[in-house]
């Protein structure tokens, strides 16, 4: 049994303009200690997926199941959900400034969270908070534990958020664009820190990002989302060396790299569709260079396409596209690992 299994998840919101389907028919699973990267652009549904796992999409109508250790989080009574959320599944957000309360000391906020889930005394929890700040690399943690969030730099605030998330040794860490708001040298520090703590705590990680560079760095498996649906899922090597879905290929091709310097980039034409009024058939069809009749009439389901490049991959390479399968076992640029 996987640690986390998302089955046929659907999340929709009622808006003035109609029902907005943020996530549709999404399924994936996560094994203990593994890292899943979820990639997509704004509006692809990646953040809503994370928030739903955490039980943070209030007012949305939900379909499907989110099974954590076999229990469906979507139907769990509040009292039991509270024991899971924060303690066993923790989350770090993109913006560390608005995730910390400006009025309370950083250490107090971590201690409060620890006390809510354990029987520690105020003093013990405070000491634990300082330990945790030291763990994530805050200098002079016993002094900084009594600082307010504004006295921390952006990178330090994100470290404090990570300390809070890891305070109860969760089984799963959900990170929603944790480095997007940070400078590149700080970003490198945070990614290294998350990777190191993940190995040490044996935490499973869901890394939500728009940055394929971050995915290439840390993910075991990758799920690509477009307009609320998973369009391709595979291991990291195949994603970069043998992508199947035209959207995935377009994403990779539109990144500037040293190889194409001075040449024109190859953007994906057009814009993502409205989630209230999706095009018929495949949602990516209007922007796709390979679209043909069938794409308009029939929506392609996720199906195996072959081309997994590493034998250790837990996930089968699946893609929601009518294009023919990749040649089995022969990715174009197989890595020599």
């Amino acid at each position: 049994m996987p640690l986390l299994a998302v089955e046929d998840l659907g999340v929709s919101f009622r808006t003035e303009d109609g029902v907005l389907h943020a996530v549709r028919e999404l399924s994936f699973s996560l094994e203990a200690g593994a890292t899943l990267g979820i990639v997509g652009e704004s509006g692809s549904g990646k953040s809503v997926t994370a928030q739903t796992i955490m039980g943070l999409t209030r007012g949305a109508s939900l379909q499907g199941r989110v099974l954590f250790e076999g229990r469906d989080l979507l139907t769990l009574p509040d009292r039991e959900l509270r024991r899971v959320r924060g303690a066993q599944i923790a989350m770090i957000f993109q913006d560390p400034l608005s995730s910390l309360h400006p009025h309370y000391k950083v250490g107090w906020q971590i201690a409060e969270m620890v006390r809510a889930h354990t029987g520690l005394s105020r003093r013990q929890a405070h000491r634990r908070a300082a330990d945790l700040l030291g763990l994530v690399g805050i200098p002079q943690p016993t002094r900084r534990v009594d600082d307010y969030p504004h006295q921390f730099s952006g990178g330090m605030r994100q470290r404090a958020m990570i300390a809070m998330a890891l305070a109860l040794d969760p089984r799963i860490l959900v990170a929603d664009e944790p480095t997007t708001a940070l400078d590149v040298t700080i970003q490198a520090q945070i990614i290294e820190l998350i990777g190191r703590l993940q190995r040490e705590f044996d935490t499973a990680l869901i890394m939500i990002t728009h940055d394929l560079g971050v995915v290439a760095e840390i993910a075991d498996d990758v799920l690509v989302m477009y307009a609320g649906r998973g369009v391709e899922q595979t291991d990291r090597e195949s994603l970069f060396h043998a992508p199947h879905h035209p959207y995935t290929r377009g994403l990779i091709a539109s990144i500037p790299t040293s190889a194409v310097r001075g040449e024109r980039l190859k953007p994906i034409p057009g814009q993502p569709p409205s989630l209230i009024d999706l095009p018929s058939g495949c949602s990516f069809r209007p922007r796709c260079a390979f679209a043909f009749n069938r794409c308009e009439n029939e929506r392609p389901p996720l199906h195996p396409v072959g081309g997994n490049s590493s034998e250790s991959a837990v996930a089968e390479h699946v893609s929601a596209c009518w294009l023919p399968e990749l040649e089995a076992g022969a990715p174009s640029r197989r890595s020599s690992a």
Partner: protein
């Protein structure tokens, strides 16, 4: 002011219009910008100041794209504002197209500003949501009092076509456009007066990757078609390499390295540049193609009281005693061409492993990830307290 053609296509090529002997279109010399911090003014004026830009000199050549990279707070946006004359320098000079703009009156400056336009990072915040797109793009004509009525509308629609917007959307509001399209609106507005220099301040940072590439291609086309010179500011190093002829790297108010784009990326000489380049995540899982990552310790120090000597010495893996006291000049580096300058006393040499370098000065106030034993100790403690509660299976 040189006579201007009326049609958008008629923008005069800057190369033809002027025949100065040197090709420096913008020359910045010893520019300094300080912002006073207003403390408790009732009793005394605060003498503290943010040293946003400190003694910076460089040129932007006619027709090139000069990339400017650095992390938040390094002064790159302030530097852009000094070049555009949006903010006066504290000291130093900015010469724009042969004319020193640092001592011009407001009226004189207004004339210069026709030739310098700016594109901003936030395509949402830089457009008034209550005004129609046509009138937003036509603003520069209103401000400089040219072409009214139907003529203005015709020009605006031409501009919309040039940047890839549908001219029929003239009467729509910004909210009806996507992020990428809004950035196109900002670009159309910037082009209205046929500027010579376009300052792009993080123009694609707020956009999705696939849209980002559309805007980068558009900017390249416009530069080619209208002979524009770009100052291109971004924190995304791969974007900067893609668009730039030369690249300048800033750290805490100073340019620490400047070179041709390929040269800078292939052979960085300043340890900060090397660390910055190595820190950027590369979208390729093959470890063989990855650089050795140099993870810098700690955060950028405060620009209110920047470190002595070389400002990077508190985080530099190669820092030595002289770095604390000597301010390095931006000079040519041995082993590189004369056009490659870096401000470092101990520049990186070819094939050097910076990851293995260790500073010989004390940098202990910087954050560091603790040793594994410490992590294990804390992990065990956490597991115990959670087990005590029995909340863990």
């Amino acid at each position: 002011m040189s006579p201007r053609a009326t049609a958008v296509e008629g923008v005069t090529s800057p190369r033809g219009a002027h025949s100065t002997s040197d090709d420096a279109f913008v020359r910045v010399e010893h520019a300094v910008k300080r912002f006073a911090i207003h403390g408790n003014q009732l009793f005394r004026r605060s003498k503290e100041a943010v040293h946003a830009v400190d003694d910076v000199s460089f040129t932007i050549r006619r027709g090139e794209t000069l990339g400017l990279v650095g992390e938040s707070g390094c002064g790159k946006s302030t530097l852009a504002r000094l070049v555009t004359g949006l903010q006066p320098v504290t000291s130093g000079t900015v010469v724009f197209d042969g004319q020193e703009i640092t001592r011009l009156s407001r009226a004189q400056l207004r004339a210069v500003r026709r030739d310098v336009q700016m594109i901003f990072q936030d395509p949402y915040g830089s457009l008034n949501p209550r005004r129609r797109v046509g009138s937003i793009i036509g603003d520069p004509y209103a401000i400089h009092d040219e072409s009214r009525g139907d003529e203005r509308k015709r020009k605006v629609q031409e501009l919309m076509e040039v940047v890839g917007l549908n001219p029929e959307h003239y009467n729509r509001f910004p909210a009806e456009f996507s992020g990428g399209q809004r950035q196109r609106i900002g670009i159309a507005r910037a082009l209205a007066l046929k500027p010579k220099l376009l300052v792009c301040d993080e123009p694609v940072s707020a956009l999705d990757v696939s849209i980002q590439a559309q805007i980068i291609n558009l900017l390249a086309d416009l530069q080619h078609d209208f002979g524009l010179t770009y100052l291109f500011i971004a924190h995304d190093l791969s974007v900067v390499r893609q668009v730039s002829t030369r690249v300048a790297v800033m750290y805490l108010g100073k340019i620490v390295e400047l070179a041709d784009a390929d040269e800078l990326y292939e052979r960085p000489r300043h340890p900060y540049t090397a660390a910055l380049l190595s820190a950027a995540p590369i979208p390729d899982p093959d470890p063989a193609r990855r650089r050795q990552r140099i993870v810098l310790r700690g955060d950028v120090p405060s620009p209110v009281s920047p470190p002595s000597g070389c400002r990077f010495h508190t985080r530099c893996p190669k820092a030595r005693q002289d770095c604390v006291t000597v301010v390095p000049d931006l000079d040519a580096v041995t082993g590189s061409s004369a056009a490659h300058v870096a401000a470092c006393l101990h520049p990186v040499v070819d094939g050097e492993d910076l990851g293995a370098a260790a500073a010989v000065i004390d940098q202990s106030d910087q954050a560091e990830i603790p040793a594994l034993e410490a992590i294990e100790k804390i992990t065990a403690g956490i597991a115990r307290s959670v087990d005590d509660q029995g909340s863990r299976a």
